[in-house]
């Protein structure tokens, strides 16, 4: 069977590179084909990469606190580009400081993300959720 393709990158002007490398390694190890667009990636690069490779999901990381601004409109642009129902996950340190997680999560779910992860989430958690979500789609 062909490997499922996952686009991975760190959004916006964010240059935290370590978590991105770990996610790349873990996803590859778990049998996915990782399309890693790296740090400092604008929304358009995630979308173009997903289009050209026919990816099943986009893993967005944001560490430096501006995640909310950077992620706004990503789902709408995906829809516009014809990436219908592509899975959108986001994790890292997606907002500034310590905020009530329930509120943060809701804001990102409302933006159209399928999964939203608090700081310190392991790559494995993301992978098992991904398997579950992809399984539902068959």
């Amino acid at each position: 069977m062909e490997k499922k393709k996952i686009v991975l990158g760190v959004i916006g002007s964010d240059c935290h590179a370590v978590g991105n490398k770990i996610l790349d390694y873990s996803l590859t190890d778990a049998g996915f084909k990782v399309v890693n667009i790296g740090v400092l990636s604008p929304q358009e690069d995630f979308i173009n990469a997903a289009l050209e490779t026919s990816a099943e999901a986009i893993f967005v990381s944001s560490l430096y606190g501006h995640g909310e601004i950077d992620c706004k409109g990503l789902r709408e642009k995906c829809d516009e580009a014809g990436l219908n129902n592509i899975l959108l996950y986001v994790g890292g340190n997606i907002v500034v400081g310590k905020q009530e997680w329930k509120d943060v999560e809701k804001r990102f779910l409302d933006m159209g993300f399928d999964r939203v992860y608090p700081p310190g989430t392991s790559a494995e958690k993301g992978i098992s959720d991904l398997r579950e979500d992809l399984g539902k789609r068959g």
Binding site: D14, C15, V35, G38, L40, E52, T53, S54, Y64
Partner: protein, 461 residues
């Protein structure tokens, strides 16, 4: 009697001959005559050959005749991809690397009016890309179906998602002439232009040249191997990287200013020369060619003026009493205009400097600054040529100029474009005998000799 090779370059204006003594590895003579493609190219070729024979006193025996050509508009390609910044761009770069003129680049699923446009174009080849290997397949399949539906009678080079190759074969069947090769972008952001380049060259060699009123000349020469720009790129590659037995001189760029276009070739990785810079955008091919269709000395004189403005041209002029618009119009209407007096030469050289400046700016990469709470982060897009060791000039304007160094220096870095990654202090080289295209042809049959001769005949100025 000595053995010699004859190299022929059927240019848009001149048919240029280079006769090489292959034992002593020396140029015996060069000669040129106007290209006569409207009637029969053999006329111009024979004329140049006759002049050449009169020039050479010694007896020689021509054992190999090889040619390149950019006559009759050169090789014209339409590039098709999926996402504009990705596979469309990769396809375009592959076509340029093959020495083609890219008439237009298309993206996404094509519609009927776009196919109508392609059908009515005078393209020689279509390069069809789209999707990484295992990636998007709908677009390239759709576009193949459209090409089939419109019965295009142009060879199609298929260089897209490999998983679609079989389906495309069955779509085209016997209706469309197609050539399947490796994907121009097998993985995201990684480009693979060489297989498409080679496939295009083969089609050019076998098919295209026959259709150009050049069939008569085929009998008297061994073959037209490639488009002239591909030959220049080949020469630049072997001079830079060497051959099996000969050392190359390292990274370099070639600036070739012509009547209609300005070509820049760079043979260099172009990785960042400073630490802590993040690379962005599509990977760059080691051998990269860009063509500026709006920068040239005659046919494009008006667009040079439009691109640069009077102020920039003035900056390079010695005489300040010239009417810039008039000078530009003269050259554009009278394309065989030859600059003779001081002022005319001054104006030509100013225009050449504008072409050098702008073409290198577009070819080289640039830095961008991202502001973050910690300070500024720098990103690089395109090639960093700041530490490039050599800049080599060719083309009539540069070769025949009294000040080739000044023209070439206009392509180097200045504080006017502080974010440009243009070469800063390259050594300036000159293709004094105007032999680059001939040496590219020689490299196809004897790369070692081509490297040795290039090192002998390309001079530092």
């Amino acid at each position: 009697m000595m053995d010699a090779y004859l190299f022929i370059d059927f240019g848009s204006t001149f048919t240029k001959l280079t006769l090489v003594d292959i034992e002593r590895e020396e140029i015996i003579a060069t000669e040129k005559a106007y290209t006569t493609v409207e009637t029969d190219v053999t006329i111009g070729y024979d004329k140049a050959l006759k002049k050449l024979k009169e020039k050479v006193a010694v007896e020689y025996n021509i054992t190999n005749k090889l040619a390149c050509s950019s006559a009759a508009g050169g090789l014209k390609i339409i590039a098709i991809g999926f996402v504009p910044e990705l596979t469309s761009e990769a396809a375009k770069r592959a076509a340029l690397g093959a020495g083609a003129k890219v008439i237009k680049t298309y993206s996404f699923k094509l519609n009927e009016s776009e196919l109508e446009e392609i059908k009515n174009s005078n393209a020689d080849i279509i390069l069809l890309s789209g999707g990484t290997d295992g990636g998007n397949s709908e677009t390239i399949i759709h576009n193949a179906e459209m090409i089939n539906k419109f019965n295009l009678k142009i060879p199609v080079v298929v260089a897209g998602n490999k998983s679609c190759d079989d389906e495309i074969k069955s779509i085209f069947g016997d209706n469309i002439e197609y050539h399947i090769t490796e994907n121009t972008m097998p993985n995201l952001n990684h480009i693979n232009v060489d297989p498409a380049r080679e496939t295009i060259r083969n089609i050019f060699m076998e098919k295209i040249v026959h259709a150009k009123g050049m069939e008569n000349v085929e009998d008297s020469i061994s073959g037209i191997l490639m488009p002239t720009p591909a030959s220049v790129l080949k020469a630049a590659e072997v001079l830079s990287m060497g051959s099996r037995d000969e050392e190359g001189i390292g990274d370099l760029a070639v600036l070739d200013i012509g009547g209609a276009t300005t070509d820049v070739h760079s043979i260099a990785d172009g990785h960042p020369t400073n630490a802590g810079i993040f690379l962005r955008g599509l990977e760059e091919p080691h051998s990269k060619r860009t063509v500026e269709g709006d920068l040239g000395m005659r046919y494009s004189a008006i667009s040079v003026f439009e691109a640069a403005g009077a102020k920039t041209i003035k900056k390079y002029l010695k005489y300040d009493d010239l009417d810039i618009e008039e000078e530009v119009n003269n050259r554009n209407t009278n394309t065989s205009f030859v600059a003779i007096d001081e002022k005319e030469i001054d104006f030509d050289e100013a225009m050449a400097k504008v072409c050098a400046n702008i073409s290198m700016k577009r070819h080289a990469g640039f830095l961008d600054t991202v502001y973050s709470p910690l300070g500024n982060i720098h990103t690089q897009e395109g090639k960093d040529l700041m530490k490039l060791p050599y800049l080599l000039g060719t083309g009539g304007v540069i070769v025949n100029s009294r000040n080739p160094k000044d023209i070439l220096s206009a392509a180097t870095f200045t504080m006017e474009d502080p974010t440009s990654l243009k070469p800063r202090e390259p050594k300036i080289l000159l293709d004094k005998e105007y032999i680059l295209s001939a040496m590219g042809l020689l490299a196809m049959v004897n790369a070692n000799m081509a490297v040795r001769m290039l090192k002998k005949y390309i001079v530092e100025i």
